[in-house]
């Protein structure tokens, strides 16, 4: 929050003399920029007396595959202000994507104003990747410690693990067991626990002044939902597939089922894809929207600039932050819960049909 405030403050100050319209546009652009992934880990930026943008933060490695591996620091882009020259190839940032350009950084457009320059395969370590690696390190350290504390402390968790152990047990007893069933829940536990804490920690990290928006990124939620989709369908039992391709079973003669199944089976098959798709959109939209609302309210402070409006929007932003902390947990819970529910469908085995 602090860094956001600082940066917004700096932003407001530089535009003091400018029109309100410009300020609004700048805030809008700032929010849009924040919501996207970034090639460098910038904490905040300001414009100095000479009118130059000054960025405080870390440049990150850019990894491109363009007829061979191209590895260079994102500082070569100077935050999109210059063209990076790597071994005689020129790359420019345009709308937060890397395009191959000429030395002048010319971007060609088609009639819809889309860039037509070729895009090299981009595997850069972006801000989101670094954030995920951070969460990787935190989670690995935290839960390995918890696991080791049992042996050291006579079967009882010690330290910060005492806080996390009940949550682990909650995932087991209130998410996995009732949805998947006593017989099969164990093989899904690792995935459910990892995804729960991964999403939760990333959501919380998104509320810190680091200003990352990982779970509000469609590529990340797509990746998570894809895994749920794969696990659901790869562990699906005969009953699960039977439920999709023969939902009525032996309750009806085959000739009666044929016309029904022309409609039913496509719906069921669509359902396989809709379920994980709802997961990815729900998480993405909730986190994205939370960040938009929060940053808009912070931005409002600098638009109002009055003794009433600014404290009011500060209070609102504060209240929304508190709600967002809850949402961070809630979204992790919902994602895990629904994944468990889908695994439960996949793992079901029954006598009838």
């Amino acid at each position: 929050m602090l860094a956001l405030l600082c940066s917004s403050f700096a932003l407001a100050e530089t535009k003091d003399g400018a029109k309100d319209g410009d300020l609004k546009t700048e805030i809008k652009e700032y929010i849009a920029h924040h919501l996207q992934d970034s090639y460098d880990f910038s904490l905040f930026s300001y414009t100095n007396d000479q009118g130059e943008h000054v960025y405080i933060g870390l440049p990150l490695p850019v990894i491109l595959w363009d007829n061979g591996l191209k590895l260079f620091s994102s500082s070569k882009f100077h935050h999109g202000e210059t063209v990076a020259n790597v071994d005689g190839n020129y790359y420019a940032l345009y709308h937060n994507k890397i395009y191959k350009t000429d030395a002048a950084g010319t971007i060609n457009y088609d009639e819809d104003h889309h860039a037509t320059n070729s895009k090299p395969l981009d595997l850069s370590m972006t801000k989101s990747v670094v954030s995920m690696l951070l969460v990787f390190a935190i989670m690995f350290f935290l839960f390995k410690n918890l696991a080791e504390s049992y042996a050291k402390n006579g079967g009882i968790a010690s330290g910060v693990g005492r806080f996390f152990e009940p949550i682990v047990l909650y995932v087991r007893d209130d998410i996995a067991r009732p949805n998947i069933g006593e017989k099969k829940y164990k093989k899904y536990m690792s995935y459910l626990l990892t995804i729960f804490f991964f999403i939760w920690f990333l959501n919380i990290l998104g509320l810190t002044p680091l200003g990352v928006n990982v779970t509000g990124n469609i590529a990340v939620t797509f990746g998570l939902a894809l895994l749920t989709f794969l696990i659901t369908n790869l562990t699906g039992t005969k009953d699960y597939w039977l439920h999709i391709f023969d939902p009525l079973g032996s309750t009806m003669a085959w000739y009666a089922k044929v016309p029904l199944y022309i409609i039913l089976i496509p719906i069921e098959v669509l359902g396989i894809f809709v379920k994980p798709f709802s997961l990815l959109i729900r998480l993405y939209a909730n986190m994205q929207a939370g960040h938009i609302v929060l940053m808009s309210l912070i931005g409002l402070m600098f638009i109002f600039k009055s003794w009433l409006g600014s404290p009011l929007s500060f209070g609102l932003a504060f209240a929304i932050s508190l709600i967002e902390i809850l949402v961070a947990l809630l979204q992790a819970y919902i994602f895990t819960m629904l994944s468990a529910l889908y695994f439960g469908f996949a793992a079901e085995e029954h006598e009838h049909h």
Partner: protein
Amino acid sequence: MAAALFFLIEHLTDMEKLIEEFSFGLFIWQTLIFLGLLLMLAKYAWKPILSAVEERENTIKDSLEAADKAKADMEAIQADNKRILKEARAERDALLAEAKKASTQMINDAKDAAKTEADKVAAAAQEAILQEKNAAINDIKNQVASLSIDIAQKVVQGELADQKKQEQLVEKLVKAIEIN
């Protein structure tokens, strides 16, 4: 939530933008990082944590069962103790009663024996006294007789000088003998 819905609708009508936002590189990184985390945590964290917790739960369950069993055992032992105590008390009471009876018997026996002995002694003493008395009486009688004879001799010697007196004496003597 309303904001989320609004945002969702806005974005769904603009799928192109959503797809444009999709970064393949980030997707690859995310999948790699997540799978790596999943495998590492499964091996080094979740498995040990869940087995430790399960083990602890089983220990608690076993301990509770053992405690219940111990309680039942304890109760059985206590009941046993009570029974044994009761039996011991009864036995002690019986022993005491018997002892009392025996002692009373003994005392009575002793009393009887003592009484018999005492009676015997008393009887013997009485007999001895009687014998002594008879002996003494005989002795006295003999002495009195000899004294009487002596006296009579002397008196007779004096009296016999006179006829009348002789007769009187005889008469007197005879009287006296009659008294005896």
